[in-house]
């Protein structure tokens, strides 16, 4: 276990030994414990949404923050994962855990195949291509009869019995979603600390120079695209299992992936804790706006204004600001 040269910096100690590993653990613990204190169901529902946002943003960040590719349609992973999971739990009657794992793996594989094609596009072309992928998949699913076409799939709420009844099931789904969020953060961290991550960051800075330096750009981008699909697909499975219903307009709602972009930029692109800060603040803001009568219709307007202000005046997001203010923080909070 004693890798690294004598006097090798803490930066290259095993991941578990670094303080940041435990900071992430703390975030997960806070999510798990907070609603349990006082059995606060309302807090749980708000944190559940935050966990979904953080999961989407954190995985999207692998493409956007590391590799520099804007994926406007990342919600397609979430929606397809939801569909696969709900479908498998329906007539074939699979148990939840098997269904979400297969959904995750299946969507990841599909993303790898799609990625090898669509990632030959760069910049704006790729960004538009991702919207197109989402549109195409939505159009396909809306016409796909085994998945109920445009009216979607309902699950019997009987299925909640396997998780100890509806009340208990909601808690179980919540904890599973928090676990998925935690895994997303660790995945982001593991990738960023790896050789793979170094290659992605190089691609994000200058793709041609990265290739000349030996980074297998096409393969790495496709792998990143595929990796960023796995956990959102599982989150989609859990999310739609919770409502026991899925339909195309909900599953492939671009609003969700747009908000994930806002969250990344708010927290700080390319950082690991950024999506947590962004997701938490965004969900708080949203919760606050929804209770206000005038603003509840303006969710996307607010998201748009927020995004514009960040891009123009705080391009590094909250983490960029913190790092600029206290450079030492860079070593602790990544």
């Amino acid at each position: 276990m004693r890798g690294g040269a004598p006097g090798g910096s803490a930066k290259h100690a095993a991941i578990v030994r670094r303080p940041f590993f435990w900071i992430i653990a703390l975030v997960i613990a806070a999510f798990a414990v907070a609603p349990l204190l006082g059995n606060d169901v309302e807090l749980r529902e708000s944190l559940l949404l935050a966990a979904v946002y953080i999961t989407l943003a954190s995985n999207l960040n692998i493409m956007l923050g590391y590799a520099g590719y804007v994926n406007f349609g990342s919600i397609v992973f979430f929606g397809l994962g939801g569909y696969l999971c709900i479908y498998l739990m329906g007539s074939p009657g699979w148990p939840l855990v098997a269904a979400i794992l297969v959904a995750g793996a299946g969507v990841s594989l599909l993303a790898l195949l799609f990625g090898l094609g669509i990632l030959r596009l760069r910049g704006a072309y790729f960004a538009l291509g991702t919207i197109g992928v989402n549109e195409a998949v939505q159009a396909f699913v809306s016409n796909f009869d085994p998945w109920g076409g445009s009216s979607g799939i309902y699950l019997s709420t009987e299925l909640f019995q396997a998780l100890g009844g509806p009340m208990q099931a909601l808690w179980s789904i919540y904890f599973l979603l928090v676990a998925v969020m935690g895994l997303s953060l660790y995945l982001s961290y593991a990738i960023k600390s790896s050789k793979f991550g170094l290659g992605l960051l190089a691609i994000g800075q200058n793709e041609d120079a990265a290739a000349v330096l030996g980074v297998p750009t096409a393969l790495y981008k496709a792998l990143a695209y595929s990796a960023s699909a796995f956990l959102p697909a599982i989150a989609g499975g859990l999310y739609f299992f919770k409502s026991a219903f899925i339909q195309p307009t909900d599953a492939f709602d671009l609003t969700f992936s747009t908000e994930a972009i806002v969250i990344i930029m708010l927290g700080g692109q390319g950082t690991i804790i950024g999506p947590v800060l962004g997701g938490y603040f965004y969900e708080e803001l949203r919760g606050w706006l929804l209770t206000s009568e005038t603003f509840s219709h303006f969710q996307l307007v607010v998201a748009g204004v927020l995004l514009l202000l960040i891009v123009l005046f705080l391009p590094g997001g909250l983490m960029g600001w913190l790092h600029g203010r206290w450079p030492k923080l860079r070593r602790v909070l990544e």
Partner: protein
Amino acid sequence: MTALLELDGLSKSFGGVRAVKGLSFAVEDGEILGLIGPNGAGKSTLFNLINGVFMPDSGRLRFRGLDITGTPPHRVAKHGLARTHQIVQPLEAMTVIENCMVGACFGRENLPRAQALDTAREAAVFVGLEDRLETTAAHLTIAGKKRLELARALAAQPILLLLDEVLAGLNPTEIAHMIGVIRRLRERGITILMIEHLMQAIMSLSDRIVVLNSGQKLAEGAPAAIANDPAVIEAYLGDPALARELQQGSGDERRAP
């Protein structure tokens, strides 16, 4: 005995512009081969052909006896061929050491990340960036960025190094430093193919020189012979200052072996 790198009838056109036309020459193991020629002669394009950025329209490339024609750049790098860019291409938001780690991780040795750190640091120190290891590349001076280009290529531990005008835009002190670095590279046994406009430097550094004009080989030989080749002087006549420098540079070569 085959040469380290063999070019056989390489050609490349961009639309109507024939940038490289049927070019053949070889780079021998351990030498410094200088590549000179007027602006637009096709020198940089040739580098892009060699390391796979462009696919040649025709012709073959052999590196250590292996046919690498049409091999994509990231695989060429793995074979032990590294390069610098005429227009520097730093990974701007990354630090000097991180830039070099990319070279070390994905170069010939394909090092794991933990081991790449030492190689990267050594390369950065070798070119004189020891005070700048944690500086983000965007904040380097132009001379610093030129050094970074070289350090990154070195971190890949290449067998053959392609240098595209690493001296351009440097002041005399920086030039002297860079020339020292190139000499030490040769002592390490790295073969170098270098493009340079600074005649004095290239005449004194190179073992042999290839002259390119309008995408074709105009002359090939020892620096002294090249400097006195009427065809070469003719090609540079559009630029009398360069032609004069060409002849002075060869005089230098005899003084400083």
